[in-house]
Symmetry: C2
Subunit: 119 residues, 2 copies
């Protein structure tokens, strides 16, 4: 077996820096292909290919407008990635959590002043 296809999932699709650039560009709004060609400095066929990959994993949507194809970001496709890394976030922020634990303990010992505050 070879490496998983770039179209296998968002993780693979987004591993390619150019595709991240494309998504970054589309985060600012819908764009035709040639806009991206200029922005990335890549040949048009390459951009089209990258867009195809992104489309296949649902990271972008297309819309036909005359002879242009307008690509639009579909951010929800990135959510699985976020969900996965987010579960690690507390690990690199452990120090803060420990601090919070301490504060929690302190609060527990004399919490007669406050009762509810949400964040």
């Amino acid at each position: 077996m070879a490496r998983a296809a770039t179209t296998a999932d968002a993780f693979n699709a987004v591993a390619e820096p150019r595709r991240r650039e494309i998504l970054d560009a589309l985060a600012q709004g819908e764009r035709p292909v040639n806009d991206l060609v200029e922005l990335l400095g890549l040949a048009q066929p390459h951009v089209s290919r990258h867009l195809r990959v992104l489309r296949e994993v649902g990271a972008v949507d297309v819309r036909d407008e005359g002879r242009q194809r307008l690509y639009r970001l579909n951010p929800q496709a990135l959510k699985p990635i976020h969900d996965w890394v987010a579960s690690y976030q507390h690990l690199w922020e452990e120090r803060f959590e420990l601090l919070e634990d301490v504060l929690e303990d302190l609060k527990g010992e004399d919490l007669k002043d406050q009762e509810s505050n949400e964040n």
Copy 2:
């Protein structure tokens, strides 16, 4: 040019599901290779290879303990990924934010007559 090396950065390293599994396992604590072999149901050489990739991108650290090698998660290596996706988070949560705004407005205007909800 072929696809970027899996060792190019955390994005590429983590695109492989088995490597994510390994990290998930290590999130619960230091483990020797054979533990992971059993956990993943892969051949030992493959696990060693995956660990090498993860080591090269700094996602894991190793420690020698007798004839075992204990691998440990280094969560900070995942931070760049988190930082990148996090910048998109507000986009897929926009709907909720808008909804919250609306609710806020409704509450402000007449907060006695409110029970319908949207989907």
